[in-house]
């Protein structure tokens, strides 16, 4: 039950993009088409879960015992960057099909603040490893949901007549705001 609550809270109530403002760059950047949005969400889901496990283990078994938690930011970003590289190399070798669909999105993920943000939030909320992994999966589902819904809206938006000054980024932001307003309706389901 506890795990279901973590997932519902991460997907709907505190949606990572629309309520916590993490991962806005890919949210605005790759949401032009539903198919690219799906690829990006898959890559984020994969890396976010792995990165949370890796950073958790490093925090508990290296940073805390040696009392060097002030190196948290530097260690985490290096771990995530090398993890992304490693995933890219391994995928290329063992699953060329998966690499074809996720490959182009992987380099973009290193500077995606959602990955580092979730790793830091797991530490801040003092989750254990299982809760942390569930939280990461929940957040990546939330990211996928927001990205795919937004991509769907933007595909429709391209067909609409939009005032010249609002075209492009401004109208996307206003639509994202209205989407965030809709997600606020979930507030209060879980504390």
């Amino acid at each position: 039950m506890e795990y279901i609550l973590i997932i519902i809270s991460a997907v709907f109530v505190n949606n990572i993009v629309l309520a916590q403002f993490l991962g806005i760059c890919p949210f605005l950047g790759v949401s032009g088409k539903v198919s690219t949005a799906l690829g990006m969400s898959g890559a984020v889901m994969f890396v976010m879960t792995l990165a949370t496990i890796a950073t958790y283990l490093i925090q508990v078994y290296i940073l805390v015992p040696f009392d060097i938690t002030f190196l948290q930011t530097i260690t985490y970003i290096l771990v995530i960057a090398s993890l992304v590289q490693m995933v890219e190399i391994i995928l290329k070798k063992i699953s060329p099909a998966l690499y074809q669909s996720l490959g182009v999105f992987l380099p973009l993920i290193t500077t995606n603040c959602a990955i580092l943000g979730v790793a830091l939030l797991v530490m801040q909320k003092e989750f254990n490893l299982v809760q942390g992994v569930i939280y990461a999966i929940g957040n990546s589902i939330g990211f996928a949901l927001a990205l795919i819904v937004f991509a769907g809206i933007r595909e429709q938006l391209d067909l609409m007549h939009i005032p010249k000054g609002m075209k492009g980024v401004p109208v996307s932001l206003v639509v994202a705001g209205i989407l965030a307003l809709a997600f606020m309706g979930f507030a209060g389901i879980v504390k």
């Binding site: 916590q20 580092l116 830091l120």
Partner: protein, 201 residues
Amino acid sequence: MNQWRNFNKGFLRENPVFVLVLGMCPALATTTTAINGMGMGLATTFVLFMSNLVISIFAGFIPDKVRIPAFIVIIASFVTIVDLVMGAYFNTPGPQGEPSLYDQLGIFIPLIVVNCIVLGRAEAFASKNKIVSSVIDGLGIGLGFTFALVLLGATREILGNGSIFGLSFIQGDGILVFVLAPGAFIALGYLTALIIRLKKS
């Protein structure tokens, strides 16, 4: 004159938030008030200034292949410095028990390290230019980012709270939605449209 142009491009011509659409996460998340926006902006400016300085000095010594990881380590070091300094000096709660600036910015201080503006300037400018112009570029872009954050923070604070820099000028509540998440997107959307219009004329 050339350096002056280099400095002031960050405000309007190449404003990181309104024109280049970079660094959106902190721009949306930390601008509930003008003061918070300014705190975040100045913290980012410091990191940009220092990382541009160090990267322009060492760019010649860093092998091309490990360029990006080396830049990230340099940036992360300065972000850690900012994090520790803010934790020490900006961590006192307000008079009515409101959370301190450090608590309000929260995880967005360590997240400066993945702010695309900082790595973007390191890669596109500091690694290719001399020390003086790199430093001026960092300062200009950083202050342009601060300007955008203060503008957005002030707009949201005026509409949402009826106050500016903490000085309240109306009785009762404002339009609360502008302090919450949806208001951030909507306010930034309209401000971007306005800035693009101003830039054209």
